[in-house]
């Protein structure tokens, strides 16, 4: 039933949302600010008169280029870089930029700042739904006075450019001549996908571990690419049932079989490890290039993920590479570092754990912990130190193994 699936979809979409712990304070402060604003009608009118009210979006700090003098518009030959993005064109006369960290809600990044120009590169994902305007094929959001652009440059990079009004005419060229350093590629188990379609820049990554392991990149307008793998003597029955394969072809010495209507490709490499690469209509024309760009990963067993180090793992698990997640043969392990107010103590960590049921107190390395379960997994939570907690989701593992994995985790 569609309605039931919709209910479930909404539940999954909203399940991890948590309000800010200081929400009441924020609301009260906001209300007081509003009251003060109303009392200062004259001041507000003056502000409007000098044109300061039309702010854009994703305002990262209070430094407003609009308030600063203009620059001369002459091409500069000296490219600069920030956050993996190289700036290919700059108007002359800007002077030397300073670099500063930038943050906006969940996004972290860094910015190159001149008096009349600010280029900010965030690491993260934004689904930018704009009009017909694009920057090198990427849909771009633009503010009303055309002094600001924002777009998703690639799978994990968001770029924002703000200019003073006098540089409006240069904004587009600055954006058009930015370039991204080659990415290492998306990773999936033992594979690295070095090629993605040029406009596949908004991807939400989702991992599934059912009978097989899958990873999806879900983009705008319901577009998606999914790669799945299973280790077995034969290709899984649900992959082949009713499927009429097209004529096989060779890619880097491996035989690849196309599925119906060109939506999927199947191969076995090495023997006993089967893969399926599938795409929705928009990307099916790109499947051939994606598969040609697949390379083996160099480090098949990474153990360091940001601030998390993983000391012990059971044998024969397959790594997802760039996230602390492993799975194989019905077993599943996924680690999550929790920082900030939601990890101020174990009670907060528990309260923030969606659908946590039952359980009992434990210790991990002498630190307070809690072992419970949610709908699918055993969930072990523990505090590393105030402000830093860890959630360990597992399935198909004995408790002694769960404890051993937890004891081997280090939070730097």
């Amino acid at each position: 039933m569609l309605e039931q699936e919709l209910r479930q979809a909404m539940a999954e979409d909203a399940q991890d949302l948590r309000p800010a712990s200081d929400l009441v304070d924020q609301v009260v402060r906001r209300s007081r600010r509003r009251t003060r604003r109303r009392r200062g009608v004259l001041a507000a009118a003056l502000a409007l008169a000098v044109g300061t009210a039309g702010t854009g979006w994703l305002i990262t700090d209070r430094k407003d280029p609009d308030q600063v003098a203009t620059a001369r518009h002459v091409t500069s030959a000296a490219p600069v870089a920030v956050g993996g993005v190289t700036v290919g064109y700059l108007p002359e006369g800007l002077g030397a930029p300073r670099t500063e960290p930038a943050a906006y809600k969940g996004l972290q990044g860094s910015a190159l700042v001149w008096p009349t120009l600010r280029i900010t590169v965030y690491q993260g994902l934004y689904d930018v739904k704009a009009g017909t305007a694009t920057v090198r094929g990427r849909p771009v959001a633009q503010n009303a006075d055309r002094t600001e652009l924002l777009w998703q440059e690639n799978g994990d990079t968001v770029v924002q450019i703000r200019v003073a009004p006098a540089l409006k005419g240069e904004l587009r060229r600055i954006a058009d001549e930015l370039s991204t350093k080659p990415q290492g590629g998306e990773r999936f188990t033992e594979l690295r996908l070095t090629h993605f379609p040029p406009d596949a820049h908004v991807f939400r990554k989702v991992i599934f571990a059912g009978p097989q392991l899958s990873r999806s990149w879900v983009g705008a307008d319901h577009r998606s690419i999914q790669i799945s793998t299973v280790r077995s003597e034969h290709m899984p029955r649900d992959w082949v049932a009713g499927v009429k394969f097209g004529a096989p072809f060779q890619v880097n010495g491996t035989t690849v079989r196309p599925g119906p209507r060109g939506h999927s490709l199947y191969w076995e490499q090495p023997k006993g490890t089967h893969y399926r690469l599938a795409a929705t209509s928009h990307y099916k024309k790109d499947l051939r290039r994606i598969i040609e760009g697949i390379r083996p990963v160099e480090d098949t067993d990474p153990r360091a993920f940001g601030s998390l180090d993983v000391g012990y793992l059971p044998a024969n698990l397959r790594s997802f590479g760039d996230v602390p997640t492993w799975a194989s043969d019905g077993r599943w392990i996924s680690l999550q570092l929790v920082e900030g107010a939601v990890a101020k103590d174990l009670a907060a960590l528990k309260a923030g754990s969606e659908r946590l049921q039952g359980g009992r107190s434990r210790t991990v390395g002498g630190r307070p912990a809690w072992l419970g379960h949610d709908m699918s997994n055993e969930v072990l939570l523990w505090m590393d130190r105030p402000g830093y907690g860890v959630r360990l989701y597992t399935r198909g593992l004995p408790q002694a193994e769960i404890q051993r994995i937890a004891e081997g985790v280090t939070v730097r």
Partner: protein, 164 residues
């Protein structure tokens, strides 16, 4: 202030989820929730002591979300939330259906989305939905039917089965 703080502590998560689903974006949702709570806070003293403030706050949230979505028709920025790395036990086809449905829901016109959220997330009746949105019963019925038809069309277009 204490009653307001108690209300927020008890209901904020549920209200945030409603805001998220009607807006389609967590960052926008937080702002909508704050705005709605701020309005409620300003008028808190006027509420009857025995009245449940939640329907009132929900109405503000839904209508704020709709009006904001309409204002940003030309320029929309919907943050994409990182999905936690967790396994799912349901068949992959079911998961795909829900991925497609979530994305398609965000793409619906604001009022259609609000109708579906109120009917199928909040489990409100058509009459209750009409009251919150300030529209007729017929509008709720037609918007729900159109919204579901669009979602069904997207699911079929992508070749995933909704009965998996």
């Amino acid at each position: 202030m204490t009653a307001f703080a108690d209300f927020v502590a008890a209901r904020a998560t549920s209200l945030l989820r409603l805001a998220h689903l009607t807006c389609g974006a967590p960052d926008e949702a937080e702002d909508v929730l704050q705005s709605a709570l701020e309005r409620a806070y300003r008028h808190w003293g006027r509420l009857r002591p025995d009245a449940d403030p939640e329907p009132y706050v929900r109405r503000i949230i839904v209508n704020l979300a709709i009006s904001r979505a309409r204002r940003r028709r030309i320029l929309r920025i919907d943050p994409v939330r990182d999905v936690p790395e967790r396994p799912v036990q349901t068949p992959t086809s079911g998961v795909e259906v829900r991925q497609v449905l979530s994305a398609a829901l965000r793409g619906l016109p604001p009022r259609q989305r609000a109708v579906l959220v109120l009917r199928f997330w909040e489990d409100l009746t058509e009459a209750q939905t009409a009251e919150i949105l300030g529209v007729s019963l017929g509008t709720v019925k037609s918007q729900a039917a159109k919204g579901l038809a669009k979602l069904r069309g997207v699911v079929e277009l992508e070749g995933v089965r909704s009965d998996a």
